[in-house]
């Protein structure tokens, strides 16, 4: 016995009325949240990480008692201006496609001789436990503010990383059958009041990628792209994404490529 036409019509009329009411409440809530964000002005606590990162960059440390001014982020030794706008990319010396964070680890381990485990003991800061990786990342990223994203994308390994990122983006798994695409595959969607950029389009990818890394108000910490990806997988109910893994760098390559042409404005300030 299928639903009588009358009930179906009632359903339609009912939901239309609701939509009108909901739409009204929805825009005023989004207005109010936009206003809340504006009240932070340009006093972003990320600057505290930037100045700590600058100090770390210039301080001689580790067994080799060297600073990081010879670190090559792709534009030549010590060049940080605009470097983040052209990452991830292939590096001949490590024979790998690297994102900013794994590249910083390479510099710290080779130039300063600090063991990888020691440097990454506190990968993601938590109050008193401060992360040097986050501070250095904030410093380097800020030096690409205003620069357009432009990935070299010539090396086959870079293209392979992009393809893996694209595949991982829609890999549905875990108890909830979630993939990145589940939440970031469509336009104009949101979780609770949290707007979700559609990361498969240039506009959506730019809206997200150009503001990361960012200071997260909810945690009072500056968070990087590697943190952003592993925390998203945590909420997808999947196991832990390994730092600097193929999928982490592949997804970053996928997002950066989609956001190409966008102007970097990181570190941003986020919920």
């Amino acid at each position: 016995m299928n639903t009588p036409r009358a009930t179906r019509r009632a359903l339609l009329v009912g939901s239309l009325l609701l939509l009108a009411g909901a739409a009204q409440a929805e825009t005023s809530t989004q207005d109010a949240i936009a206003e809340y964000r504006e009240m932070f002005g340009d006093d972003n606590p990320a600057e505290l990480w930037q100045s700590r990162g600058e100090a770390l960059w210039h301080t001689a440390r580790g067994p080799k008692q060297a600073n990081l001014t010879a670190c090559d982020l792709g534009l030549g030794p010590g060049v940080i201006e605009g470097a983040y706008a052209q990452l991830p990319r292939w590096f001949d010396d490590t024979q790998q496609v690297q994102d900013l964070e794994t590249r910083l680890v390479s510099c710290v381990t080779t130039l300063q001789g600090i063991p990888r485990e020691e440097f990454l003991k506190v990968k993601f800061g938590d109050g008193e436990k401060k992360s040097e990786l986050e501070a250095l990342t904030a410093y380097v990223v800020a030096a690409s503010r205003g620069k357009p994203i432009a990935l070299p994308m010539q090396h086959p390994a870079e293209q392979a990383a992009y393809a893996l990122g694209k595949a991982a983006f829609s890999y549905r798994a875990g108890p909830h059958d979630f993939a990145c695409a589940t939440c970031h595959g469509d336009a104009g969607k949101r979780i609770r009041l949290q707007e979700l950029p559609q990361l498969t389009t240039a506009a959506g990818a730019r809206e997200a990628y150009t503001y990361w890394p960012a200071y997260r108000i909810s945690q009072g910490e500056l968070r990087t792209m590697e943190w952003r990806l592993q925390d998203c997988f945590r909420q997808q109910r999947l196991p832990q994404l390994k730092f600097g893994s193929e999928v982490a760098i592949g997804l970053t390559m996928f997002l950066a490529k989609n956001a190409e042409g966008g102007t970097l404005a990181a570190p941003g300030i986020k919920r």
Binding site: D43, L48, S51, D126, G127
Partner: protein, 103 residues
């Protein structure tokens, strides 16, 4: 050793406008860290500011001032090049002072 504050102090008309970001955890004593252990209370309780030695502001804070605190205020009688000094003290007895010349 705590991190330096970011202090912006600039003459605006006949007043000096000050904007400060302080690096501090402002722990309420309620929060649990990643491993689930309660993080003890640790927050700034006192802030003072002076211009060339003259007091221009003092404040008493509790744990509900946000982490990495932001503070902005305005005062008259300061000129370009004067020294603005800001000091905070916290529940652990730590203290930090930073000084900038007014722009």
């Amino acid at each position: 050793m705590s991190d330096p504050m970011r202090i912006r102090a600039a003459v605006k008309g006949e007043k000096v406008e000050v904007k400060i970001l302080m690096s501090h955890v402002m722990e309420t004593g309620q929060r649990k860290d990643a491993e689930g252990a309660v993080v003890p209370a640790h927050y700034i309780t006192k802030v003072t500011a002076s211009c060339n030695g003259r007091d221009v502001l003092s404040a008493d804070w509790g744990p509900s001032v946000s982490k990495n605190p932001y503070l902005s205020f305005r005062f008259k009688g300061g000129a370009k090049g004067d020294k603005l000094k800001v000091t905070w003290t916290d529940t652990a007895g730590d203290s930090r002072s930073d000084e900038v010349s007014i722009g």
